[in-house]
Amino acid sequence: MATLGPAHLPAEASVSSGVSTAPVTKLAPRHSALVRMTHLITTLCFFALLVTGIEIVISHPRFYWGETGTVLTSPWFQLPIPSSRRLVPTGYGYVLPDQNGWSRALHFEAAWIAVLTGLLYVISGLLTRHFRKDLVPRKTDLSWRVLLTSLAKPFRFERPSAAEASSYNGLQRLAYLFVIFVLFPLVIWSGLAMSLGFASAFPWSVTLLGGRQSARTIHFLVSLALVLFLSVHVLMVCLAGFWSRTGAMITGRTGTRKELT
């Protein structure tokens, strides 16, 4: 196993190096090829889903709880944004252009690709013991003191230690597991529950969530949680060193000039 910290890696990135002949390193990659590929596809799908999801919400920025809800009933909450439909009371004196056609098409296509990619990731993660090895917290991770220390570090703008470049701390492990096994399944389930065809075959998928409008509201709230996760995720990547961490997720290799300074 690769126990070397990134500081021990050869500095491969000397700009002047001409034709590279020998392989740079024989260390196992920071992330496996499958993790890197599924991460990239999921990232692209996530942005497609986010943009088209916002477009779809704009056509009815009101949220209800229960089975039904229209502009003739009172919402649980309403987003303070203009709408792309004339009959939605928003308080704005104008109506945005309707973008639902392509937004729905791209939303569902990206959802298909994301779900199939996610299945591939989860199945291979179980087979290769990726979850057990890399994401299930170690015994030593699970004390409040350790977790709180990890939590406090970024607030002091402290960069992670060299050891943390090759594995995750307990807080990261819990966060990733929560996203992979709670938020993603919930957003997929609540999305499917809104499909009239799917609901006709699996009616419990709607009733368990409390009704069609509850499913829609849950879909929106879980999406918000995912956006929140994404923001923190990207912030942490920046704090740890954007190019080294992003490079590790794209090429699999850690260790850049930045890490050596």
Partner: protein, 252 residues
């Protein structure tokens, strides 16, 4: 830097060949079993086809959720309507006595029905939710004659695959496959919550299919055409909405 051993090369070559021929076979089978929607072209065709094919396999006979009477929404919301045409207003003034629904195409006996004719057919009702693609929804009791009953009356050719329905609203038409056309909850709907179907909700006659979103439930239906080929209608995408980017299959 890429280290391709001979074994890797052979294995990935075989995998690629198997994958490509697998895809070709899948496409053939999908076409044969009617799992490819008419608007399968373009960059969103993959998603449209996956959704339509999987829902056809999963939901051919499943029923939309029905609700008890006490869950009917007190104020059903009729979505925005375009201005009514002069022809429509004339029919409305006559209490829709002269409204005709004509049926042609791949049928043994092309026919034409008045609203009274349709009301003389066995009447059915279901209490189901109408859900708009925008996100809102309400529950109502829908009364009508199952489309399958009318299709049996005129006798559909065995090779028929779609029913095209045309609205009196300008430039408004749509189509469904035979699985939806023969589905027991698909109605030619003339009543709502115990009364005649109000004009804002599509009266006197609306297509009602509770397993697809609102825009497939076209209002003011005047014509049905049974066909085996949607290419001949409009731009060949199966409905006018697809020409504006909305999916032909809207079970999602």
């Amino acid at each position: 830097m890429i280290n391709l051993s001979r074994r890797k090369l052979i294995v990935s070559g075989l995998a690629a060949t198997a994958g490509a021929s697998g895809l070709a076979v899948a496409a053939r089978l999908a076409q044969k079993y009617g799992l490819v929607p008419p608007d399968h072209g373009g960059i969103y065709g993959l998603g449209e086809t996956l959704t339509y094919a999987s829902q056809r396999l999963l939901t051919r006979h499943s029923l939309a959720r029905e609700f008890p009477r006490n869950r009917i929404s007190p104020r059903p919301f009729p979505n925005e309507l375009g201005p009514l045409t002069e022809d429509f207003k004339r029919l409305q003034a006559g209490g829709f006595a002269d409204w005709r629904l004509s049926i042609d195409g791949m049928v043994h006996q092309p026919a034409s029905f008045s609203i009274a004719d349709l009301k003389n057919c066995p009447s059915r009702s279901h209490i189901t939710e109408l859900a708009c693609e925008e996100g809102w929804s309400y529950i109502a009791e829908w009364i009508g004659v199952p489309l399958s009953h009318v299709l049996h009356l005129v006798g559909v050719h065995p090779q028929a695959r779609y029913v095209v329905y045309v609205s009196m609203e300008p430039d408004t038409w749509d189509s469904i496959d035979m699985a939806d056309a023969l589905h027991p909850q698909t109605f030619l709907c003339y009543g709502m919550n115990g009364n005649d179907l109000p004009v804002p909700h599509g009266g006197p006659l609306r297509m009602r299919l509770p397993r697809q979103v609102g825009y497939k439930n076209k209002k003011f239906i005047t014509q049905l055409t049974v066909t085996d080929n949607l290419k001949r209608f409009g731009k060949g995408l199966g409905c006018v909405d697809a020409e504006y980017g909305y999916a032909w299959y809207a079970g999602i």
